[in-house]
Structures are given as C-alpha cells and as structure tokens.
Symmetry: C3
Subunit: 132 residues, 3 copies
C-alpha cells in the first residue's frame, strides 16, 4: 500500500489544508530531492493548490463551485451527489509538488487542499515521494 493519510472533513463541501501532513510524510520518507504526488482515491473528492493565508479565498472557491455546479440540477445519477463528482473532476484527483532540501518547494502563499464535495466524511489520501 502507498503511504496513506487519514483526515476528516466537516461540511458537505469542504477544503482542508493538508500541507503539513504532506510535508511530514516527505520528511518521514527521508526524501531530499525529487517529487511528491498527492493522490485522492475517492470519487467525490479532489485536491488543489491555492492560497492558504486568507480563509475567505477557500470559501469563495467553494461558493463559486456551488453556484456553477449546484447540488440539484436535473442530474440522472440516483445517489443525488452528481454535483460532487463533477466538482471533483474540475479540481482533479492529484497534485504534484517538487521537493528540494527535504521539503516541498511551494510558493509563499500556496497550500495543498483536500477537497471533499459530499461530506462530511472520514477520508484518506495517498502520498508518493519520488527521489530523482
């Protein structure tokens, strides 16, 4: 099994900062230089990198996604969470960050966010450190 990290989300749509968890796994793996892939194995979830300084940015992203892809919109899927699947594909199922000096090299304001669109849920994601 790949390195697996568990988190909890707390609302139907939610973005959780997982940067410190990814950094911790990079350090535990002893990766000095290379890449790190963060992969989400759930189909109503995605992962994205965006601003982590002002929580209003995340709230604006979620609000816009809700407006573009509302929960009820004549969908055919009987489980009632088609909007969650659509939002997941818009965000994407993985991100790749570079690693140098034993740490992810990200922009000053960047954080990695786990995005759940059909929560609240207990979820997991995979971290794959790659030496290169």
């Amino acid at each position: 099994m790949p390195i697996t990290v568990s988190i909890k989300t707390t609302a139907r749509i939610d973005m959780v900062d997982i940067t410190h968890l990814v950094r911790r796994e990079v350090e535990k793996a002893g990766l000095k230089e290379g890449l790190c892939v963060v992969y989400v194995p759930h189909t109503t979830s995605g992962v994205t990198i965006n601003e982590g300084a002002d929580p209003a940015v995340i709230s604006d992203i979620l609000q816009k996604l809700k407006q573009l892809v509302p929960p009820h919109d004549g969908y055919r899927h009987a489980e009632g969470n088609s909007d969650s699947h659509i939002k997941a594909s818009i965000m994407g199922s993985s991100v790749t960050v570079l690693v140098e000096g034993g740490r992810p090299v990200m922009g000053t304001w960047q954080k990695i966010f786990y995005c759940e669109f059909d929560g609240p849920r207990s979820r997991k994601f995979f971290v794959k450190p790659i030496s290169c």
Copy 2:
C-alpha cells in the same frame, strides 16, 4: 515513442473508460512499484478519474460541461470547436496514478476516463510507467 494506445470515441462529447488499457500497459511494462502517467496529446481531449459504477455519473458530467461551455457561445476561433478546447483544459491533459504490486492503486469506484469533446474520433493516448 512512448507507449501509445488507440481508442475510438462515439459521440461529439464522450468519456471512455480506459482503466483496463492502462492496467494492461502497466503489466506489460513489468512495473511493480511506482507511478503511471496517462497523457492525452490531442487539444480537444482531456483525461479524468471519476466514478465508473453508474454510467449516469459520466452522463451528468458531460451534460454539465455542455451547459457551462455550450458549443456555440460567440467564440472567435473559426473552426467552431472552441467549446471542445475549453472543456479539455477544464479536465486536464494528464492524470497520474500510483502503482503497487504491479497494478494501479485506485479507489474502489475510480476509473480513468478518456474525454473527447469534438468527436467522434479515433484517438490515442500515451502511458508512461515509472519505476520508483
């Protein structure tokens, strides 16, 4: 040339499950542990990972993309397929999956979908297994 796989799409906008084709190439390459990148070299196509159990999910994704980015919407591009290019960038040109024990490690409900937005077409995609 990278490993190249051919497929056919059957409608103007279509999502084709290519999971078994990716898995087959991972097995043929003898990759035991690492990553696999799936890359789409066409500009009206993308690739995404989402639910494969109920085909209504895919139909809802396509319907929402059609609603957000309709085929005719005052576009400037003279070929008449600007909507296809826009949808392609929303989905993305590649996905990365982790490989363990000789197989892609994906969620229970996850499948990899080739997304064509200006078909039907004969298309190809690249598979790059990476040992690490």
Copy 3:
C-alpha cells in the same frame, strides 16, 4: 532551488506560450527520456496544455473563464482577486509532459501555456526534468 524560469504577462488575464522555454530547460538538463513537470508557485496562476496554432482559442478560453468566474461576484476575499484564485484552481498548478529523444513528446497542436489571472505580472515557474 529547482530550475526557475521568469516570464512577464501583459494583461489582467493572460496565457503565455512557454513551450520553447520548457523545451530549452529539458535540453539544458540533458534529459533524454523521462518526464518533465512544469509547476507554478503563484496562487493566481495556473498552467495548461492546449492549442497554440490559432490565438483565438486562447482568447476564447480566457473569455469563457471570465464569464464563468467574473471579477466581481460577491466574493468575501478582501483583496479583490478571488476570481483569479478560482480560475487558477480550475486550470491547475502543474502539468506533466513525457520526454523522448531529448524533447517533450506533445501533440502536433499542443503548446504549454502559463496562465495568469491577476496580472500583468512578472512571474516564474519551475521545471523539473525526471530521468526514467
């Protein structure tokens, strides 16, 4: 530090073809076969692969993003650029291309575009060549 390339964008929302810059770094690194990751460390920027032959395609992509995510739309983030952050997450923070024979292997019409959504700005991006 990873390989870092500087560019300038010239409008509030802008997509700049960086394909030749990525190719140059792949050549300078002497990478013959593998992958190349292009990573954007700014939170109002993204990166995407799309058609580079007719500039109208890019203009249509930008116009549609502006329509779906307008600059002013009741956002909470006080800096006034929430739309830029949202567009960045829709496009994504990195792309991965395959490399064979010392060059990125892309489709005939594909180009890599740096997307800035809160410019004009002097920006940078990272290039990570991976031998495999």
